[in-house]
Symmetry: C2
Subunit: 116 residues, 2 copies
């Protein structure tokens, strides 16, 4: 069994974009576009990693980690991402809150044998 695991801590300081959302009902092209956006984001300068969880009610949290806030701003202004955000507001999300933050401390543990 492959467990979904948290991204390991990065070396502070770095930036985090906390995206909390409730999905509308129905897919409306969401899954495909979200997959494209995830791939594109992972190729942007300054991208470090991501954690993303959604439950059966369509309530989700996606935290992306970046080298600095400028990297988040650049991704925000990326044309394909900007277009996806319009669709998000129009069709995919019932409610969204975004928190842009600087991470000052990070730590964690993994039970022995869990990773690889």
């Amino acid at each position: 069994m492959t467990l979904p695991l948290p991204a390991a801590p990065f070396k502070p300081p770095y930036a985090a974009c906390i995206f909390v959302y409730t999905r509308t009902t129905g897919d409306n092209g969401y899954a495909e576009r979200a997959g494209e956006m995830a791939k594109l984001a992972a190729n942007q300068p300054g991208f470090l990693g991501v954690d993303s969880v959604i439950d059966a009610d369509g309530y989700g949290i996606l935290v992306s980690y970046w080298r600095d806030e400028q990297s988040i701003t650049a991704w925000r202004e990326h044309a394909a991402h900007a277009a996806a955000r319009v669709a998000g507001r129009d069709r995919w999300y019932e409610a969204v809150t975004v928190h842009v933050a600087t991470v000052e401390r990070a730590y964690g543990f993994t039970r022995p044998g869990t990773r690889g």
Copy 2:
């Protein structure tokens, strides 16, 4: 139908504790203690709010929002919370990553009619 909704944005700056985890299998007293901790946290000085999502695989993200990082540290040092963390490491979590951050910007939207 009552949708689970993201906490509304707070007025920056404030602190966020991003807790990302994978649960072990079985409850092992987790649900009851987690409920107690949520109630206790909500009564601590500086607590602003929380967003918490877990999926069917036991992969979850809990983000708690606080007036400042001192409030997070005080909650971390609370005796009942410290005891729960020991149980978390021993029994409840396969892997955990914690990111402590300062939120500099926050925004969001709610589709008209969604909230109350």
